[in-house]
Amino acid sequence: MFSSESDGSRRTPKSVDLTVSLGPLRLANPVLPASGTFGYGLEAMEWLDLRRLGAVVLKSTSLAPRPGHRGVRVAETPCGMLNAIGLENPGVREALALVERLPEGVVLVASIFGNTEDEYAAVAEAFSRSPRISALEINLSCPNVAEGGLAFGRNPEGVARVTARVRAATSLPLWVKLSPDTCDVVAAAKAANAAGADALVLGNTMPGLAVDRRTYAPVLANVTGGLSGPALKPISLRLVYEVYRHVPLPIIGVGGISDAEDVLEFLAVGASAVQVGTAALRDPFVFERILAELPAALRAVGVDRAASFVGIAHRGGLRALAPSEGRGEAE
């Protein structure tokens, strides 16, 4: 009664089940790299066994190669960063050749991007022909290119059109990635659901700008870029929370996740899995660290299945866990 910390009365499950189901796809664990912060996996395989990851999400890929933006592409901001890479990628043909170099047994999710609905469909078809690719993620929301993504992602009609078009072009599990820079994220999520998405990825970067204090011009050559990292976390947590209440699709949370406790926060608000982006730029060993800490973190809250923690923030938090499962309320 006199102190508010919890104590030894926790149950400590011996082994923890990390597997997650994302619609038709079952993953060994919920920890994935985010698109664009992991290339095609070829660098990281030098220091990381990619098979340990729930899946690898590839860099967003377009039909033809894209050189990306010139000049300064990254800038630091308080507790985060801006990027304006400009979706540099070698095009879908070369991308498919690159993933051939990855070891067997790595679950691959291709992130697709197009300037037009036709292009989205063409990229989807190309990836779908590869037996290496297990799912597609539609990048509807990259704020760094004028033509494509964001225009579609901002309103539910655009989301529905692209999703339906890609749905018709592939039989792979289909994830739709939405951004916080939208009129109404719940409406966009519902549109994706109606158009055949199997899961939602929430969210993406938020458009921002950094000023160079030596020149007082924008740091980025592209002027604006996408805000990512811990600064973004509360925004992404809110997207997941809101969509979880209204749309019955599995959610993959992304935005500012840096440690196992962050993963638990996203599971709690309704994500079934998570993606880690910027934190992997700061610490290339972050995946090992999270995967090592996650079982203990789940045990510490008294659950033995990651899946049973999903959405508990909607049910009162730890209070929701049965006394036998969960450490109970702290006092």
Binding site: G39, L42, E43, W47, G68, V74, E88, T278, A280, L281
Partner: protein, 298 residues
């Protein structure tokens, strides 16, 4: 233009390790020497010109900051840091015993045996002395195709007080010093008196004959340049086309490990990542168009 995505010549073995600050020594008002020692174990050996990504604990800045390793003496990893912004200011305020994390060694450094080269000219601008000092240390340690006597060092500084940077080379060689805006003493003499008044590149050309006792044809000279971008560009444009010129480049980096493509520069062979294909790029491969045409006056 994206030819180099994941085309990695050699896998880069690096580690992310906790270090302690051993000492932070102010060289000038905006230059510090940072000595660090590993808290647990040693990172892999660095090649000259490779860098470390330093993570400051405490959250003052979010991303790591890239710095060339100057030398590793025993377990002491030394960096020379110019204070230019928030992260480097935080470094200047570090105290002995503070903790850091060092990720590295990263990137592709200077070639240890540039093809055909018998002599080596190190052309340093300001804190560009850092990566070049690491070259000289490797030469002295017998890790390169050169002997110390094959190496000439020219150090360009902006203000006389930065002459202390010569210390970085001094265990092994005395650099020819060039001062862009020299101070003068009471009698109007340039301080320090031995200094050439001008840029490192000007000094190199003016004293070209003195750099080595015997004349050396350009094709037998390798030149390693490190300094601000205009200096690199001037060196690439003016140094004899036959010389093998390599420059250590800088760009804002997020990861330093090749993941984000934030540090990409356009070159003759496409977009290359300075943190992986670089930071050392070769004029021949990456910027052949900059070289003077044979016979051009420099």
């Amino acid at each position: 233009m994206t030819s180099s995505i994941a085309d990695v010549a050699t896998p880069t073995p690096f580690a992310d390790l906790p270090f302690f600050v051993k000492d932070v020594q102010a060289l000038t008002s905006d230059l510090v020497l940072l000595d660090t020692v590993p808290a647990e174990s040693l990172p892999p050996d660095a090649q000259p010109g490779q860098f470390f990504q330093i993570l400051l604990e405490g959250g003052e800045v979010y991303l790591r900051r890239p710095f060339s390793l100057v030398t590793r003496l025993g377990v002491v990893h030394r960096f020379a840091v110019r204070v230019v912004g928030r992260g480097t200011s935080a470094i200047a305020r570090l105290r002995p015993g503070d903790r850091l994390r060092l990720l590295g060694p990263l990137g592709t450094g200077f070639p240890l045996a540039p093809p055909g080269a018998r002599k080596l000219l190190l052309l340093a601008g300001g804190v560009g002395a850092a990566p070049l000092a690491s070259v000289l240390a490797a030469v002295a340690a017998g890790k390169t195709a050169f002997r110390t006597s094959d190496v000439a060092v020219v150090l360009g500084i902006r203000r006389s007080e930065e002459a202390v940077l010569a210390r970085l080379f001094r265990p092994w060689a005395e650099p020819l010093l060039a001062v862009e805006r020299p101070s003068r003493d009471a009698e109007g003499r340039v301080v320090p008196p031995v200094a050439f008044p001008g840029t490192a590149l000007d000094a190199a050309f003016a004293r070209w004959q003195e750099l080595w006792p015997d004349p050396v044809p350009p094709e037998e000279i390798a030149v390693f340049v490190a300094g601000p971008k205009p200096m690199l560009e001037a060196a690439f444009r003016r140094l004899p086309a036959a010389a093998r010129v390599y420059g250590a480049f800088e760009a804002p980096m997020a990861c330093g490990t090749g993941l984000c493509r934030g540090c990409v520069v356009e070159t003759a062979v496409g977009n290359v990542r300075l943190c992986r294909e670089g930071p050392v790029l070769s004029r021949e491969v990456h910027f052949p168009h900059l070289a003077p045409r044979e016979g051009d006056a420099s």
